[in-house]
Symmetry: C3
Subunit: 268 residues, 3 copies
């Protein structure tokens, strides 16, 4: 993949400032809103059932994140998703904690069925739980091999008819038979809460301006990884990383991409 | 306006640490609490209907922000506002997103009618939506001229019998025929989520200790703008800005005001 | 107390990454999750009644914080606490704002009765309110002497059959007749929202890996105080402090403890 293709999307986000409607968890509302602002998008956080159709209808994309879900919020997610589906507004789903509890797994499956997201982004454990529900899992499950993870992502991508992103040391982006791998990022990012949620929010900005959800997801993961690794290199710990990450996203330049991009993609 | 009049209010906030009761949105709870602590006030965030009368009754002011409103929270806002009105506790209203959805516009209008805030603070689009409800608006509307915005603010100020603050590159503070303009601030502040909400919270600290809502609002906007521009000058991006803003508010000195204050006010 | 005993617990947290289930307030969800990640634990924030038994069942400890309580959340706290009690999972309770409203005081007392926390952590005013409910209090009550505070902590410790931590310039940790005092910390910490809540969350990490709630609480308060004072010394204000605190927690070394630990404990 050429850095230019990522850069064009970033420039378009900065120029168009797409409205990204987030129904997300309490932990990351502030930090994901800030990440969207830093990259140039316009975030809105709203969950009242009374305004879902109107609010989603204004948006360029919808990001649904079940990190601190509860029954009334799931209703809002379904209502927003219905509007999005009717109007062709792309939806990113982050099935946070899927597999940890039955409520999360069932809710995520219901949302996929009802809303037809264009991108599902999670870690390996969450993606596996979406496929192997009913089997015992315990939150983070890192016992499976990279090949098993990729196979699961392919299976989910086909059954849910969407792009599946599996975050990890190397991010997988899978659309049926197409697979891209993004090797950017830094291990310190796992010590900042909600960096995965931020990746999903950022993916929301990219799907709002790029008609290919696959390319949008690859570009989003590359942008996250590059901004994260530059930030981590300048940081003594996760407190600084959180701050530097926003500064880097805000000031990201084409040469940052060309110097650092580590993406394997089918069309690169 | 002389810097000394802003400074006297800041010193009074630091000395008295007024309790500011916030019913606000999830995105900014942490950052507005931190801004209130940094300037010397005592924030409390609470929304349970069971404790509204008691909690508001303890406070020097009440800040109501509809950024992530939902029906149960609106009930709490009305209950808290009722107590505030009965006891003469000044209320600041931030009608976040007014105009974007009918639910927000209607709720904001209902709150103004029931609670009689002393200050309403929003951006031009939100203030216009309060007046021109029913007419089509789409979130941020920057198509109107500064004169139209000022006229709208005057009209709302008269009909709602309160001070109206319109945030922008130059903040307008309007109380009927009196108009003040604050030209402090920095464009990078718009890339940090909730800086407007923070302005409303800070206004809550000033109305708690200054009996004139007009002067309190002018002083609050000047303080926000000066702290924000000093912070922005020291920041590479919105991540640093958020941090530096709190440090600057905490350490703000009289000379920062005297060197930077750019306020046009009727009694200056 | 020897620094080594604190250090052993920190190393164990880093090695085992205990899952700490938090049902906490909106203001501090992000910052307490980040503090838990920085020290090496695995935070999860969840409050849906549908998943409480399962989620708490996965955890090494449960932290309940009533900072922005409401009726549905209290139900979740009781459900999570029931699971914790049945399975012997240690619970830390933070009775935020206890005494400010009847709802908070009653809820905190109900939680103590139903859940039997192993640690209750609050400020002097909150701890007093738990004992002297019905008597007039007004939020923060600093009129009582250190001896009165210690006597209250002993009384509550005996009646609630748990460790009571009273945060202040010198933290008290009381288990019946045993009293430890931690003199670490820095006054600037009081200008960052939720540092008390963070202390409770960090205590959750220590009770998950140390079978003695008393020693866990002493170690947690020492770690908080030392990380806080190092961070404050490097900070111009509360914005920097919040960031530096996370960096310091993340990189804390044994020599930081041996150089700074100021603890009086019965078995030191």
């Amino acid at each position: 993949m050429k850095p230019i293709s990522v850069w064009q999307d970033i420039q378009r986000i900065r120029a168009e400032a797409p409205l990204v409607h987030n129904i997300t968890n309490y932990v990351v509302m502030n930090t994901t809103a800030n990440a969207l602002l830093a990259i140039g998008a316009s975030p809105v956080m709203a969950h009242a059932i009374e305004e879902m159709a109107e609010m989603t209808g204004l948006a360029g994309s919808l990001v649904i994140n079940i990190g601190t879900l509860s029954a009334p919020w799931v209703e809002a997610m379904l209502a927003a998703g219905k509007t999005a589906r009717q109007r062709g507004i792309p939806v990113v789903l982050d099935p946070v904690g899927c597999g940890a509890t039955q409520f999360r797994t069932t809710t995520a499956q219901k949302l996929i069925e009802a809303i037809k997201p264009v991108v599902i982004r999670g870690n390996a454990s969450e993606i596996r739980a979406l496929l192997h529900a009913g089997q015992a899992t315990k939150g983070v499950d890192s016992l499976c091999t990279p090949d098993e993870v990729e196979e699961d992502a392919r299976t989910l991508s086909r059954s849910a008819e969407c792009v599946v992103v599996v975050s990890g040391a190397v991010d997988l982006i899978v659309a049926g038979d197409r697979v891209a791998k993004v090797a950017n990022g830094h291990s310190m990012m796992t010590r900042v809460t909600g960096m995965g949620c931020t990746a999903s929010a950022i993916a929301g900005a990219f799907v709002a301006i790029n008609p290919s959800p696959f390319m949008a997801a690859v570009h989003a993961m590359a942008t996250m990884g590059i901004a994260g690794e530059i930030a981590a290199e300048r940081s003594k710990g996760p407190g600084s990383l959180q701050l530097n990450f926003l500064d880097i996203l805000y000031g990201l330049q084409e040469q940052d991409l060309s110097q650092r991009l580590r993406v394997e993609a089918p069309d690169s």
